[in-house]
Amino acid sequence: MNETLTTIQQIDGVGLDVSINTIWLLVAAFMVMFMQPGFAMVEAGFTRQKNAANILMKNLMDFVIGSITFWLIGYSFMYGEGNAFFGDFSKFAFDPGTDTYGAGYSDYADLMFQTVFAATAATIVSGAMAERTKFSAYLVFSLVITLVIYPVSGHWTWGGGWLSSLGTDATVLDAAGEPVSWGFIDFAGSTIVHSVGAWVGLAGAIILGPRIGKYVKGQARAIPGHNIALGALGVFILWFGWFGFNPGSELAATGGSASAIAKVALTTNLSAAGGAIAAMLVAWMRYKRPTLSLSLNGALAGLVAITAGCAAVSPLGALLIGLIAGTVLVFSVEIIDQKLKIDDPVGAISVHGVAGAIGTLLVGVFALGSEVTLADGTTQLVGAGLIYGGGMKQLGLQAAGVFSIGAWAFVCGFILFKVLKATNGLRVSKRIEEEGLDIYEHGETVYNM
């Protein structure tokens, strides 16, 4: 991004552009960190009050554990050079002492930014497995996802692994005679962050089974959340945090990035709006009522869906992605809940998994692509989606990413939870579930006289 770096004025050897980028990255990281209370409020609000302390505790602890382990090992495992599949331990207990500003911003700022992303992936799972999972099992899980599951698949794309250059075609050479390198597009992590959390959660929800009373005589029962006002607050907080999540993922604010971050903010906002309105309208038609809970989920679906393509599509494309995601969301919730009978109390699988997958795939449809000057002087569009003449190529790359990462996350989650079930136990006893995890697991209730 900063091709003319050397000419930039410096203070004590640090360019002003580095300061600008670092501020941007830190503010974005803080906003993403602030998504934690967003998740906490959504998950607490959409579940019952007898389990509120438990869900809040889980949200607190996955961020806590993620912060420590990702700093210690996860970051290295994800961004350490390593090979196409895993990073290495070169960044273990990250503390380089002297900052290299290697990527145009402080190395420490990068760690902070990546840490809050890892914690986001972890926190999604608690929603899908809410109201019945042992707290001790959840702690172990938090460790494993930020140590291994998330860093490995993260490495595949963002860490320079195999997915990041899957689209490279030896016959397409750039002006310098090098093959033009591109691959699976997931700008800020629809798949890498959100779906990973969701597919692990899916494995967990399947292995756990539904909450007591959720399915009676083969019929799904509604178990309404105890405080949708908190849930709504959480969604607004998440929406706000997403302006750190997506625009921050540009990792710079200088040069062309000044425009890019603003445009990403716009696509992010339009898709969220599209998701909310589509979900509202579809729910209105299907259930005769514009329901708040589904509209809130719809906004989140729009946000998750645009995360992959926010820098690759036009504002109109973003709006369409949001509308599609919001529409699918309603059906997805219904199918998972009522047909597949997988009990996902807060709809995390639909919001983060299904919408994440769809959004990632839609990049293969709506991506504008970028022009590259080839060795022979002609220009070629790479990474363009279906409707911009890219054919099925980018769609194929997107599918490769969605499915390989999805499989990795689901299988890891499945094994992890099976092992936990066999050893520590995964689900609380019937009595604890009945009376609430708060009293029995934490010895504390959230609402008191």
Binding site: A220, R221, A222, Y287, K288, L294, Q338, G347
Partner: protein, 115 residues
């Protein structure tokens, strides 16, 4: 002594309170309840219908000496009435004994303050 329980609309609470005071009722207790009745408005939570008919009401409980029963009933009937479905009901039952914790007074005496 009698126990009177009245289930009324929330929006009629202030009116009923005033009417009770006028009828000489100085003390009562109340709390929020939900009522299930004939109204069957569907609620939908994330695509599933549920709880098809509960509405929010206030339950007022008054323990009183026998002579207050009639004026109390009348007062509530008048103040809580809108004429539309959902106005609520009044229930009367026998109260066997009563005590005032502060003074240890028992029976009728515990239900009023001598001046």
């Amino acid at each position: 002594m009698k126990k009177v329980e009245a289930i009324i609309r929330k929006t009629k609470f202030d009116d009923v309170k005033e009417a009770l005071h006028e009828a000489g009722i100085e003390f009562f207790s109340f709390w929020e309840v939900r009522g299930v009745g004939k109204a069957t408005e569907a609620r939908i939570y994330r695509g599933i219908k549920y709880d098809t008919s509960s509405i929010e009401r206030i339950l007022i409980t008054i323990y009183m000496r026998d002579q207050f029963l009639d004026p109390t009933i009348k007062a509530i009937m008048k103040a809580a009435n809108t004429g539309s479905i959902g106005d609520g009901k009044i229930f009367v039952s026998e109260l066997q004994d009563a005590y005032r914790i502060r003074t240890g007074e028992q029976g009728d005496k515990s239900l009023y303050i001598e001046e």
